[in-house]
Protein backbone atom coordinates (compact mmCIF):
# COMPACT_ATOMS: atom_id res chain seq x y z
CA UNK A 1 0.00 0.00 0.00
CA UNK A 2 1.45 3.36 -1.00
CA UNK A 3 1.64 5.94 1.77
CA UNK A 4 -1.00 8.60 1.18
CA UNK A 5 0.57 11.98 0.68
CA UNK A 6 -1.56 14.37 2.68
CA UNK A 7 -2.06 14.45 6.43
CA UNK A 8 -5.81 14.48 5.89
CA UNK A 9 -5.65 11.27 3.89
CA UNK A 10 -3.43 9.64 6.52
CA UNK A 11 -5.89 10.64 9.19
CA UNK A 12 -8.84 9.27 7.20
CA UNK A 13 -7.02 5.98 6.89
CA UNK A 14 -5.51 5.61 10.34
CA UNK A 15 -7.41 8.04 12.55
CA UNK A 16 -9.53 5.20 13.85
CA UNK A 17 -6.39 3.71 15.39
CA UNK A 18 -6.55 6.51 17.95
CA UNK A 19 -10.05 5.40 18.87
CA UNK A 20 -8.70 1.90 19.46
CA UNK A 21 -5.84 3.29 21.51
CA UNK A 22 -8.04 5.66 23.50
CA UNK A 23 -9.12 3.38 26.40
CA UNK A 24 -5.54 2.28 27.13
CA UNK A 25 -4.25 5.85 26.80
CA UNK A 26 -6.96 7.18 29.10
CA UNK A 27 -6.01 4.52 31.62
CA UNK A 28 -2.28 5.31 31.39
CA UNK A 29 -3.04 8.98 31.79
CA UNK A 30 -5.31 8.65 34.83
CA UNK A 31 -3.62 5.85 36.72
CA UNK A 32 0.03 6.38 35.78
CA UNK A 33 0.81 9.83 34.40
CA UNK A 34 -1.42 11.85 36.74
CA UNK A 35 -0.02 10.08 39.83
CA UNK A 36 3.51 10.73 38.52
CA UNK A 37 2.67 14.41 38.19
CA UNK A 38 1.09 14.20 41.64
CA UNK A 39 4.44 13.26 43.11
CA UNK A 40 5.17 16.97 43.23
CA UNK A 41 3.60 16.82 46.70
CA UNK A 42 6.88 15.32 47.89
CA UNK A 43 8.20 18.89 47.70
CA UNK A 44 5.14 20.42 49.37
CA UNK A 45 3.26 20.31 52.61
CA UNK A 46 0.21 18.70 51.10
CA UNK A 47 -3.27 19.80 52.09
CA UNK A 48 -6.49 18.17 50.93
CA UNK A 49 -8.24 21.55 50.93
CA UNK A 50 -6.60 24.80 50.03
CA UNK A 51 -3.24 25.41 48.46
CA UNK A 52 -0.25 23.24 49.31
CA UNK A 53 2.93 25.12 50.16
CA UNK A 54 6.29 24.31 48.56
CA UNK A 55 8.87 23.27 51.14
CA UNK A 56 11.73 22.13 48.92
CA UNK A 57 13.60 19.10 50.17
CA UNK A 58 12.25 19.23 53.72
CA UNK A 59 10.66 15.76 53.57
CA UNK A 60 13.76 14.26 52.02
CA UNK A 61 15.87 15.74 54.82
CA UNK A 62 13.51 14.20 57.38
CA UNK A 63 13.70 10.92 55.50
CA UNK A 64 17.48 10.77 55.30
CA UNK A 65 17.92 11.71 58.95
CA UNK A 66 15.38 9.21 60.22
CA UNK A 67 16.83 6.00 61.74
CA UNK A 68 13.51 4.25 60.96
CA UNK A 69 14.06 4.86 57.26
CA UNK A 70 17.52 3.28 57.29
CA UNK A 71 16.22 0.27 59.17
CA UNK A 72 13.55 -0.11 56.49
CA UNK A 73 16.11 0.32 53.72
CA UNK A 74 18.32 -2.33 55.32
CA UNK A 75 15.39 -4.74 55.60
CA UNK A 76 14.55 -4.14 51.95
CA UNK A 77 18.11 -4.87 50.84
CA UNK A 78 18.45 -7.94 53.07
CA UNK A 79 15.15 -9.47 51.94
CA UNK A 80 15.86 -8.67 48.29
CA UNK A 81 19.27 -10.27 48.55
CA UNK A 82 17.78 -13.40 50.06
CA UNK A 83 15.04 -13.57 47.44
CA UNK A 84 17.21 -12.76 44.44
CA UNK A 85 20.73 -13.99 45.18
CA UNK A 86 20.04 -16.88 47.55
CA UNK A 87 16.96 -18.04 45.68
CA UNK A 88 18.57 -17.73 42.26
CA UNK A 89 20.14 -21.23 41.92
CA UNK A 90 17.06 -23.06 43.23
CA UNK A 91 14.84 -22.89 40.11
CA UNK A 92 17.85 -23.90 38.01
CA UNK A 93 18.40 -26.95 40.21
CA UNK A 94 14.69 -27.73 40.10
CA UNK A 95 14.63 -27.53 36.30
CA UNK A 96 17.69 -29.78 36.06
CA UNK A 97 16.07 -32.36 38.34
CA UNK A 98 12.75 -32.29 36.46
CA UNK A 99 14.63 -32.59 33.20
CA UNK A 100 16.21 -35.86 34.35
CA UNK A 101 12.83 -37.52 34.93
CA UNK A 102 11.97 -39.88 32.11
CA UNK A 103 8.53 -40.93 33.39
CA UNK A 104 6.20 -38.50 31.66
CA UNK A 105 3.27 -38.85 34.07
CA UNK A 106 5.50 -38.19 37.07
CA UNK A 107 7.07 -35.20 35.37
CA UNK A 108 3.69 -33.66 34.51
CA UNK A 109 2.46 -34.26 38.06
CA UNK A 110 5.46 -32.58 39.67
CA UNK A 111 5.28 -29.64 37.28
CA UNK A 112 1.54 -29.17 37.76
CA UNK A 113 1.90 -29.19 41.55
CA UNK A 114 4.94 -26.91 41.53
CA UNK A 115 3.39 -24.19 39.34
CA UNK A 116 0.14 -24.00 41.31
CA UNK A 117 1.19 -21.72 44.21
CA UNK A 118 2.18 -19.00 41.74
CA UNK A 119 -1.52 -18.42 41.05
CA UNK A 120 -2.60 -18.12 44.68
CA UNK A 121 -2.87 -14.69 46.25
CA UNK A 122 -0.49 -13.80 49.06
CA UNK A 123 -3.55 -13.61 51.31
CA UNK A 124 -4.26 -17.27 50.65
CA UNK A 125 -0.58 -18.23 50.94
CA UNK A 126 -0.26 -16.34 54.22
CA UNK A 127 -3.36 -18.17 55.48
CA UNK A 128 -1.87 -21.53 54.50
CA UNK A 129 1.52 -20.75 56.05
CA UNK A 130 0.18 -19.25 59.26
CA UNK A 131 -1.78 -22.45 59.74
CA UNK A 132 1.12 -24.74 58.80
CA UNK A 133 3.58 -22.89 61.08
CA UNK A 134 1.24 -22.62 64.06
CA UNK A 135 3.14 -23.47 67.28
CA UNK A 136 0.28 -25.62 68.55
CA UNK A 137 -1.49 -27.23 65.60
CA UNK A 138 0.90 -26.58 62.70
CA UNK A 139 2.38 -29.40 60.67
CA UNK A 140 5.98 -28.21 60.83
CA UNK A 141 6.11 -28.05 64.62
CA UNK A 142 4.47 -31.46 64.87
CA UNK A 143 7.11 -32.81 62.53
CA UNK A 144 9.99 -31.28 64.48
CA UNK A 145 8.29 -32.42 67.69
CA UNK A 146 8.74 -36.02 66.49
CA UNK A 147 12.48 -35.62 66.84
CA UNK A 148 12.09 -33.92 70.19
CA UNK A 149 12.49 -30.26 69.20
CA UNK A 150 10.48 -27.70 71.17
CA UNK A 151 7.74 -25.84 69.23
CA UNK A 152 8.66 -22.49 67.69
CA UNK A 153 6.25 -19.68 66.89
CA UNK A 154 7.86 -18.91 63.54
CA UNK A 155 5.51 -16.09 62.54
CA UNK A 156 6.31 -13.98 65.60
CA UNK A 157 9.99 -14.87 65.97
CA UNK A 158 12.41 -12.18 64.85
CA UNK A 159 15.09 -14.82 64.37
CA UNK A 160 12.95 -16.86 61.99
CA UNK A 161 10.57 -14.55 60.12
CA UNK A 162 12.97 -13.60 57.31
CA UNK A 163 13.53 -17.28 56.65
CA UNK A 164 9.77 -17.78 56.66
CA UNK A 165 9.55 -15.12 53.95
CA UNK A 166 12.37 -16.79 52.02
CA UNK A 167 10.79 -20.24 52.37
CA UNK A 168 7.30 -19.09 51.39
CA UNK A 169 8.70 -17.21 48.40
CA UNK A 170 10.49 -20.41 47.37
CA UNK A 171 7.31 -22.41 47.94
CA UNK A 172 5.44 -20.03 45.66
CA UNK A 173 7.99 -19.40 42.92
CA UNK A 174 10.37 -22.35 42.68
CA UNK A 175 8.28 -24.20 40.11
CA UNK A 176 7.11 -21.18 38.18
CA UNK A 177 10.57 -19.64 37.88
CA UNK A 178 11.98 -22.95 36.63
CA UNK A 179 9.82 -22.81 33.47
CA UNK A 180 12.20 -20.53 31.63
CA UNK A 181 15.11 -22.92 32.37
CA UNK A 182 13.09 -25.98 31.40
CA UNK A 183 12.28 -24.31 28.09
CA UNK A 184 15.98 -23.56 27.60
CA UNK A 185 16.89 -27.16 28.47
CA UNK A 186 14.46 -28.45 25.86
CA UNK A 187 16.13 -26.31 23.22
CA UNK A 188 19.51 -27.96 23.75
CA UNK A 189 20.19 -30.10 20.72
CA UNK A 190 20.39 -33.86 21.54
CA UNK A 191 23.32 -34.10 19.14
CA UNK A 192 25.46 -32.21 21.67
CA UNK A 193 24.85 -34.97 24.23
CA UNK A 194 25.47 -37.67 21.62
CA UNK A 195 28.76 -36.06 20.67
CA UNK A 196 29.75 -35.81 24.33
CA UNK A 197 28.74 -39.46 24.78
CA UNK A 198 30.96 -40.54 21.90
CA UNK A 199 33.82 -38.63 23.52
CA UNK A 200 33.19 -40.74 26.62
CA UNK A 201 31.68 -38.07 28.87
CA UNK A 202 29.92 -39.24 32.02
CA UNK A 203 26.53 -37.84 33.05
CA UNK A 204 28.19 -35.35 35.35
CA UNK A 205 30.61 -34.26 32.67
CA UNK A 206 27.70 -33.78 30.25
CA UNK A 207 26.04 -31.59 32.86
CA UNK A 208 29.22 -29.59 33.38
CA UNK A 209 30.30 -29.22 29.75
CA UNK A 210 27.03 -29.27 27.81
CA UNK A 211 24.00 -28.41 29.97
CA UNK A 212 25.36 -25.60 32.15
CA UNK A 213 27.08 -23.67 29.31
CA UNK A 214 23.86 -23.90 27.28
CA UNK A 215 21.84 -22.58 30.24
CA UNK A 216 24.25 -19.78 30.99
CA UNK A 217 22.69 -17.04 28.79
CA UNK A 218 19.28 -17.69 30.36
CA UNK A 219 20.79 -17.48 33.85
CA UNK A 220 22.42 -14.16 33.06
CA UNK A 221 19.20 -12.72 31.63
CA UNK A 222 17.08 -13.83 34.58
CA UNK A 223 19.57 -12.57 37.15
CA UNK A 224 19.94 -9.18 35.49
CA UNK A 225 16.19 -8.73 35.10
CA UNK A 226 15.65 -9.55 38.77
CA UNK A 227 18.28 -7.04 39.83
CA UNK A 228 16.23 -4.34 38.09
CA UNK A 229 13.48 -4.91 40.64
CA UNK A 230 15.79 -5.07 43.65
CA UNK A 231 13.91 -2.33 45.53
CA UNK A 232 10.67 -4.33 45.36
CA UNK A 233 11.23 -6.79 48.17
CA UNK A 234 7.69 -8.18 47.86
CA UNK A 235 5.00 -5.89 49.25
CA UNK A 236 2.10 -8.36 49.15
CA UNK A 237 4.06 -11.06 50.88
CA UNK A 238 5.40 -8.88 53.68
CA UNK A 239 2.07 -7.07 54.08
CA UNK A 240 0.29 -10.36 54.70
CA UNK A 241 2.94 -12.14 56.74
CA UNK A 242 4.13 -9.42 59.09
CA UNK A 243 2.81 -8.63 62.53
CA UNK A 244 3.73 -6.32 65.39
CA UNK A 245 6.24 -8.77 66.89
CA UNK A 246 8.43 -8.90 63.79
CA UNK A 247 7.76 -5.58 62.05
CA UNK A 248 11.23 -4.24 62.95
CA UNK A 249 12.99 -6.92 60.88
CA UNK A 250 10.62 -7.24 57.88
CA UNK A 251 9.29 -3.72 57.34
CA UNK A 252 10.34 -2.83 53.77
CA UNK A 253 10.14 0.40 51.76
CA UNK A 254 6.74 -0.42 50.27
CA UNK A 255 5.11 -1.33 53.56
CA UNK A 256 6.72 1.75 55.14
CA UNK A 257 5.34 3.99 52.37
CA UNK A 258 1.89 2.47 52.81
CA UNK A 259 1.89 2.86 56.58
CA UNK A 260 3.14 6.42 56.85
CA UNK A 261 1.12 7.45 53.78
CA UNK A 262 -2.27 5.82 53.98
CA UNK A 263 -2.43 4.86 57.65
CA UNK A 264 -0.73 7.88 59.25
CA UNK A 265 -1.82 10.13 56.36
CA UNK A 266 1.57 11.86 56.01
CA UNK A 267 0.99 12.12 52.27
CA UNK A 268 3.97 14.32 51.38
CA UNK A 269 6.50 12.45 53.53
CA UNK A 270 5.35 9.10 52.18
CA UNK A 271 5.54 10.35 48.60
CA UNK A 272 9.10 11.54 49.22
CA UNK A 273 9.98 7.96 50.20
CA UNK A 274 8.21 6.68 47.03
CA UNK A 275 10.16 9.13 44.91
CA UNK A 276 13.43 7.97 46.45
CA UNK A 277 12.52 4.36 45.74
CA UNK A 278 11.38 5.21 42.20
CA UNK A 279 14.61 7.10 41.43
CA UNK A 280 16.76 4.16 42.52
CA UNK A 281 14.43 1.86 40.58
CA UNK A 282 14.98 3.85 37.38
CA UNK A 283 18.75 3.69 37.78
CA UNK A 284 18.61 -0.06 38.45
CA UNK A 285 16.28 -0.85 35.56
CA UNK A 286 18.12 1.33 33.05
CA UNK A 287 21.49 -0.13 34.02
CA UNK A 288 20.17 -3.70 33.93
CA UNK A 289 18.63 -2.91 30.55
CA UNK A 290 22.00 -1.81 29.25
CA UNK A 291 23.78 -4.75 30.89
CA UNK A 292 21.27 -7.20 29.40
CA UNK A 293 21.63 -5.63 25.99
CA UNK A 294 25.37 -5.91 26.22
CA UNK A 295 25.58 -9.49 27.40
CA UNK A 296 22.72 -11.07 25.46
CA UNK A 297 21.87 -8.57 22.74
CA UNK A 298 18.33 -8.26 24.13
CA UNK A 299 17.32 -5.57 26.57
CA UNK A 300 14.14 -5.13 28.56
CA UNK A 301 12.45 -3.53 25.57
Amino acid sequence: MAAPASLAARFRRDGFLFVLLAPALAYFLVFHILPMAGMVIAFQDFRLVGKSKYVGFKHFRTLFTSPAFFAVLANTLILSTMKIVLFFPLPIAFALLVNEVRLKVFRKFVQSVAYLPHFLSWVVIAGIWISFLSPTTGGLNQLSGLVGLPPVDYMTSKAHIRWVLFASETWRSLGWDSIIYLAALMRISPSLYEAAGIDGASSLQKMRFVTLPELFPTMVTVFILNLGFFMNAGFDQVFNMMNDSVISVVDILDTFVYRIGLVNMQYSFSTAASLFKGAIGIVLILSTHLAAKRSTGKGLW
Partner: protein, 299 residues
Protein backbone atom coordinates in the same frame (compact mmCIF):
# COMPACT_ATOMS: atom_id res chain seq x y z
CA UNK B 1 19.78 -43.09 26.16
CA UNK B 2 22.49 -41.35 28.12
CA UNK B 3 23.23 -44.26 30.43
CA UNK B 4 26.76 -45.56 30.23
CA UNK B 5 26.65 -49.34 30.65
CA UNK B 6 29.21 -49.60 33.44
CA UNK B 7 27.43 -47.21 35.76
CA UNK B 8 23.87 -48.36 35.01
CA UNK B 9 23.18 -49.09 38.67
CA UNK B 10 24.42 -45.73 40.05
CA UNK B 11 22.53 -44.03 37.23
CA UNK B 12 19.29 -45.75 38.29
CA UNK B 13 19.90 -45.00 41.93
CA UNK B 14 20.47 -41.36 41.04
CA UNK B 15 17.24 -41.20 39.08
CA UNK B 16 15.36 -42.74 42.00
CA UNK B 17 16.88 -40.17 44.33
CA UNK B 18 15.87 -37.32 41.99
CA UNK B 19 12.28 -38.55 41.87
CA UNK B 20 12.23 -38.84 45.64
CA UNK B 21 13.47 -35.25 46.01
CA UNK B 22 10.83 -33.95 43.62
CA UNK B 23 8.18 -35.96 45.42
CA UNK B 24 9.20 -34.36 48.73
CA UNK B 25 8.84 -30.90 47.19
CA UNK B 26 5.42 -31.79 45.76
CA UNK B 27 4.39 -32.95 49.25
CA UNK B 28 5.61 -29.69 50.81
CA UNK B 29 3.40 -27.80 48.36
CA UNK B 30 0.37 -30.05 48.66
CA UNK B 31 0.23 -31.15 52.31
CA UNK B 32 -0.50 -27.69 53.83
CA UNK B 33 -3.30 -27.17 51.30
CA UNK B 34 -4.81 -30.63 51.71
CA UNK B 35 -4.54 -30.18 55.47
CA UNK B 36 -6.83 -27.14 55.34
CA UNK B 37 -9.23 -28.96 53.02
CA UNK B 38 -9.33 -31.91 55.43
CA UNK B 39 -9.89 -29.59 58.37
CA UNK B 40 -12.78 -27.84 56.63
CA UNK B 41 -14.48 -31.08 55.59
CA UNK B 42 -14.13 -32.94 58.89
CA UNK B 43 -16.99 -33.77 61.17
CA UNK B 44 -17.12 -30.91 63.75
CA UNK B 45 -17.04 -33.44 66.60
CA UNK B 46 -13.81 -34.94 65.30
CA UNK B 47 -11.92 -31.80 64.24
CA UNK B 48 -9.57 -32.22 67.18
CA UNK B 49 -8.33 -35.47 65.64
CA UNK B 50 -6.92 -33.52 62.69
CA UNK B 51 -3.19 -32.96 63.14
CA UNK B 52 -1.10 -30.42 61.25
CA UNK B 53 -0.08 -33.13 58.81
CA UNK B 54 -3.44 -34.84 58.19
CA UNK B 55 -4.49 -34.80 54.57
CA UNK B 56 -7.75 -36.72 54.90
CA UNK B 57 -10.83 -35.44 56.76
CA UNK B 58 -12.05 -37.25 59.88
CA UNK B 59 -15.64 -38.07 59.07
CA UNK B 60 -17.22 -35.98 56.38
CA UNK B 61 -19.31 -32.89 56.90
CA UNK B 62 -20.22 -29.85 54.85
CA UNK B 63 -21.30 -27.87 57.90
CA UNK B 64 -18.40 -25.38 57.54
CA UNK B 65 -19.50 -24.55 54.03
CA UNK B 66 -23.17 -24.38 55.09
CA UNK B 67 -22.29 -21.86 57.78
CA UNK B 68 -20.21 -19.83 55.32
CA UNK B 69 -23.01 -19.94 52.74
CA UNK B 70 -25.47 -18.69 55.34
CA UNK B 71 -23.24 -15.73 56.18
CA UNK B 72 -24.44 -12.66 54.25
CA UNK B 73 -21.04 -10.90 54.31
CA UNK B 74 -19.29 -13.92 52.97
CA UNK B 75 -21.75 -14.55 50.13
CA UNK B 76 -21.79 -10.86 49.23
CA UNK B 77 -18.02 -10.82 49.03
CA UNK B 78 -18.07 -13.72 46.58
CA UNK B 79 -20.52 -11.83 44.38
CA UNK B 80 -18.29 -8.75 44.59
CA UNK B 81 -15.26 -10.78 43.59
CA UNK B 82 -17.11 -12.33 40.65
CA UNK B 83 -18.31 -8.89 39.56
CA UNK B 84 -14.85 -7.31 39.82
CA UNK B 85 -13.25 -10.28 38.04
CA UNK B 86 -15.79 -10.45 35.19
CA UNK B 87 -15.96 -6.72 34.49
CA UNK B 88 -12.23 -6.27 35.00
CA UNK B 89 -11.20 -9.10 32.70
CA UNK B 90 -13.59 -7.98 29.95
CA UNK B 91 -12.19 -4.44 30.09
CA UNK B 92 -8.61 -5.79 30.25
CA UNK B 93 -9.02 -7.93 27.15
CA UNK B 94 -10.78 -5.28 25.09
CA UNK B 95 -8.42 -2.43 26.03
CA UNK B 96 -5.27 -4.54 25.70
CA UNK B 97 -6.24 -6.04 22.32
CA UNK B 98 -7.29 -2.70 20.84
CA UNK B 99 -4.13 -0.98 22.05
CA UNK B 100 -1.87 -3.84 20.93
CA UNK B 101 -3.45 -3.71 17.46
CA UNK B 102 -3.09 0.06 17.13
CA UNK B 103 0.49 0.03 18.43
CA UNK B 104 1.58 -2.66 15.99
CA UNK B 105 0.33 -0.75 12.92
CA UNK B 106 3.43 0.72 11.26
CA UNK B 107 1.28 3.59 9.98
CA UNK B 108 0.11 4.70 13.42
CA UNK B 109 0.99 8.40 13.76
CA UNK B 110 3.08 9.27 16.85
CA UNK B 111 3.90 5.60 17.34
CA UNK B 112 7.35 6.29 18.81
CA UNK B 113 5.88 8.69 21.34
CA UNK B 114 3.46 6.03 22.57
CA UNK B 115 6.26 3.49 22.87
CA UNK B 116 8.28 5.92 24.97
CA UNK B 117 5.22 6.43 27.17
CA UNK B 118 4.97 2.68 27.68
CA UNK B 119 8.62 2.43 28.69
CA UNK B 120 8.25 5.33 31.12
CA UNK B 121 5.28 3.59 32.76
CA UNK B 122 7.19 0.33 32.90
CA UNK B 123 10.24 1.89 34.51
CA UNK B 124 8.68 4.31 36.98
CA UNK B 125 5.94 3.73 39.52
CA UNK B 126 4.38 6.72 41.21
CA UNK B 127 3.66 4.91 44.45
CA UNK B 128 0.47 4.39 46.31
CA UNK B 129 -0.24 7.81 47.80
CA UNK B 130 -0.35 9.79 44.51
CA UNK B 131 -2.56 7.08 42.99
CA UNK B 132 -4.83 7.21 46.03
CA UNK B 133 -5.15 10.99 45.71
CA UNK B 134 -6.05 10.71 42.01
CA UNK B 135 -8.72 8.11 42.74
CA UNK B 136 -10.07 10.39 45.45
CA UNK B 137 -10.09 13.41 43.15
CA UNK B 138 -11.92 11.69 40.28
CA UNK B 139 -14.61 10.51 42.66
CA UNK B 140 -14.00 6.77 42.56
CA UNK B 141 -13.60 6.36 46.33
CA UNK B 142 -15.77 3.60 47.75
CA UNK B 143 -16.60 2.40 44.24
CA UNK B 144 -15.78 -1.06 42.99
CA UNK B 145 -14.80 0.66 39.74
CA UNK B 146 -11.65 1.96 41.39
CA UNK B 147 -10.65 -1.65 42.08
CA UNK B 148 -11.59 -2.70 38.53
CA UNK B 149 -10.03 0.18 36.61
CA UNK B 150 -6.73 0.74 38.41
CA UNK B 151 -5.21 -2.08 36.36
CA UNK B 152 -7.10 -1.84 33.08
CA UNK B 153 -3.99 -2.64 31.05
CA UNK B 154 -0.98 -4.58 32.25
CA UNK B 155 2.05 -3.20 30.43
CA UNK B 156 3.79 -6.57 30.25
CA UNK B 157 0.73 -8.34 28.89
CA UNK B 158 0.31 -5.53 26.35
CA UNK B 159 3.87 -6.06 25.14
CA UNK B 160 3.37 -9.83 24.93
CA UNK B 161 0.21 -9.35 22.86
CA UNK B 162 2.00 -6.89 20.60
CA UNK B 163 4.63 -9.57 19.91
CA UNK B 164 1.81 -11.92 18.92
CA UNK B 165 0.06 -9.40 16.71
CA UNK B 166 3.35 -8.59 14.96
CA UNK B 167 3.51 -12.18 13.78
CA UNK B 168 0.26 -11.95 11.83
CA UNK B 169 1.43 -11.86 8.19
CA UNK B 170 1.29 -8.31 6.87
CA UNK B 171 0.01 -9.57 3.47
CA UNK B 172 -3.11 -10.91 5.19
CA UNK B 173 -3.81 -7.54 6.78
CA UNK B 174 -3.15 -5.62 3.56
CA UNK B 175 -5.49 -7.94 1.66
CA UNK B 176 -8.27 -7.27 4.16
CA UNK B 177 -7.63 -3.54 3.96
CA UNK B 178 -7.73 -3.57 0.18
CA UNK B 179 -11.09 -5.35 0.40
CA UNK B 180 -12.28 -2.24 2.21
CA UNK B 181 -12.27 -3.58 5.78
CA UNK B 182 -11.79 -0.93 8.48
CA UNK B 183 -9.32 -1.36 11.35
CA UNK B 184 -11.97 -2.72 13.69
CA UNK B 185 -13.00 -5.36 11.17
CA UNK B 186 -9.40 -6.36 10.56
CA UNK B 187 -8.85 -6.68 14.30
CA UNK B 188 -12.01 -8.71 14.86
CA UNK B 189 -12.01 -10.85 11.73
CA UNK B 190 -8.32 -11.38 11.02
CA UNK B 191 -6.05 -10.64 13.98
CA UNK B 192 -8.11 -11.93 16.91
CA UNK B 193 -9.10 -15.27 15.32
CA UNK B 194 -5.39 -15.90 14.75
CA UNK B 195 -4.55 -15.06 18.37
CA UNK B 196 -7.14 -17.03 20.31
CA UNK B 197 -4.66 -18.90 22.46
CA UNK B 198 -2.79 -15.70 23.33
CA UNK B 199 -6.08 -14.00 24.24
CA UNK B 200 -7.19 -17.01 26.27
CA UNK B 201 -3.88 -16.99 28.17
CA UNK B 202 -4.14 -13.27 28.89
CA UNK B 203 -7.78 -13.68 29.94
CA UNK B 204 -6.80 -16.36 32.45
CA UNK B 205 -3.93 -14.29 33.85
CA UNK B 206 -6.03 -11.14 34.09
CA UNK B 207 -8.86 -13.14 35.66
CA UNK B 208 -6.60 -14.63 38.35
CA UNK B 209 -5.13 -11.18 38.99
CA UNK B 210 -8.57 -9.66 39.65
CA UNK B 211 -9.78 -12.60 41.72
CA UNK B 212 -6.67 -12.31 43.92
CA UNK B 213 -7.00 -8.55 44.41
CA UNK B 214 -7.34 -7.38 48.01
CA UNK B 215 -5.05 -4.39 48.58
CA UNK B 216 -6.70 -1.73 46.40
CA UNK B 217 -10.07 -2.97 47.65
CA UNK B 218 -8.83 -2.40 51.19
CA UNK B 219 -7.80 1.19 50.58
CA UNK B 220 -10.50 2.30 48.12
CA UNK B 221 -13.63 0.68 49.60
CA UNK B 222 -15.07 1.81 52.93
CA UNK B 223 -18.30 -0.14 52.79
CA UNK B 224 -17.77 -3.79 53.87
CA UNK B 225 -20.75 -4.76 51.68
CA UNK B 226 -18.51 -4.01 48.67
CA UNK B 227 -15.50 -6.03 49.86
CA UNK B 228 -14.21 -8.86 47.65
CA UNK B 229 -13.58 -12.29 49.13
CA UNK B 230 -9.79 -11.90 49.39
CA UNK B 231 -10.23 -8.90 51.67
CA UNK B 232 -12.68 -10.76 53.91
CA UNK B 233 -10.17 -13.61 53.94
CA UNK B 234 -7.39 -11.25 54.98
CA UNK B 235 -9.40 -9.81 57.86
CA UNK B 236 -10.70 -13.17 59.01
CA UNK B 237 -7.63 -15.39 58.55
CA UNK B 238 -4.49 -13.27 58.29
CA UNK B 239 -5.48 -10.64 60.84
CA UNK B 240 -7.53 -13.17 62.81
CA UNK B 241 -10.28 -10.58 63.16
CA UNK B 242 -13.34 -12.68 63.88
CA UNK B 243 -15.64 -9.96 65.12
CA UNK B 244 -15.60 -6.77 63.07
CA UNK B 245 -16.42 -8.30 59.71
CA UNK B 246 -18.12 -11.61 60.20
CA UNK B 247 -19.65 -10.31 63.41
CA UNK B 248 -20.15 -12.65 66.34
CA UNK B 249 -23.88 -11.98 66.12
CA UNK B 250 -24.38 -13.07 62.54
CA UNK B 251 -21.95 -15.93 62.72
CA UNK B 252 -23.24 -17.57 65.83
CA UNK B 253 -26.91 -17.15 65.15
CA UNK B 254 -26.74 -20.60 63.65
CA UNK B 255 -26.97 -23.61 65.90
CA UNK B 256 -24.39 -25.56 63.98
CA UNK B 257 -21.93 -22.67 64.03
CA UNK B 258 -21.69 -22.84 67.78
CA UNK B 259 -20.10 -26.26 67.53
CA UNK B 260 -17.54 -25.19 64.95
CA UNK B 261 -13.93 -24.31 65.53
CA UNK B 262 -12.69 -21.06 64.09
CA UNK B 263 -9.78 -22.93 62.58
CA UNK B 264 -12.18 -25.04 60.50
CA UNK B 265 -14.12 -21.95 59.38
CA UNK B 266 -10.90 -20.16 58.46
CA UNK B 267 -9.74 -23.23 56.54
CA UNK B 268 -13.05 -23.29 54.66
CA UNK B 269 -12.67 -19.62 53.73
CA UNK B 270 -9.18 -20.26 52.36
CA UNK B 271 -10.45 -23.22 50.34
CA UNK B 272 -13.30 -21.19 48.82
CA UNK B 273 -10.85 -18.42 47.88
CA UNK B 274 -8.74 -21.02 46.04
CA UNK B 275 -11.56 -22.74 44.15
CA UNK B 276 -11.76 -20.51 41.04
CA UNK B 277 -7.98 -20.72 40.62
CA UNK B 278 -8.11 -24.51 40.93
CA UNK B 279 -10.96 -24.67 38.39
CA UNK B 280 -9.06 -22.53 35.88
CA UNK B 281 -5.71 -24.19 36.60
CA UNK B 282 -5.96 -27.00 33.99
CA UNK B 283 -6.72 -24.35 31.36
CA UNK B 284 -3.77 -22.26 32.51
CA UNK B 285 -1.51 -25.29 32.22
CA UNK B 286 -2.83 -26.05 28.77
CA UNK B 287 -2.61 -22.56 27.32
CA UNK B 288 0.40 -21.08 29.02
CA UNK B 289 2.79 -23.59 30.47
CA UNK B 290 2.61 -26.24 27.81
CA UNK B 291 2.28 -23.57 25.14
CA UNK B 292 5.56 -22.03 26.28
CA UNK B 293 7.28 -25.38 26.38
CA UNK B 294 6.06 -26.39 22.95
CA UNK B 295 6.94 -22.96 21.62
CA UNK B 296 10.43 -23.60 22.96
CA UNK B 297 10.61 -26.91 21.14
CA UNK B 298 9.70 -25.42 17.81
CA UNK B 299 12.44 -22.84 17.80
Amino acid sequence: MRVATGSALTERLLRGLIMLLLLVFAAIVLVPMLNLLALSLSDPGRVSEITGLSVLPRGLSLVVYRVLAANPFFMRSILNSVYITAMGTAINLAATAMAAYALTRPTLPLRRLFMVLIIVIMVFEAGIVPEYLVVKRIGLMNSRWAVILYKSVNIYYLIILMRFFEEVPQALLDAARVDGAGHLTVLRRVVLPLSTSAMATLGLFYGVMHWNEYFRAGIYLNDPAKYPLQLILRQFVVLDDTVSLIGSGTLFSYDEAARLSYAALQAGTIVVAMIPVLVLYPLILRYYTHGVMEGGLKE
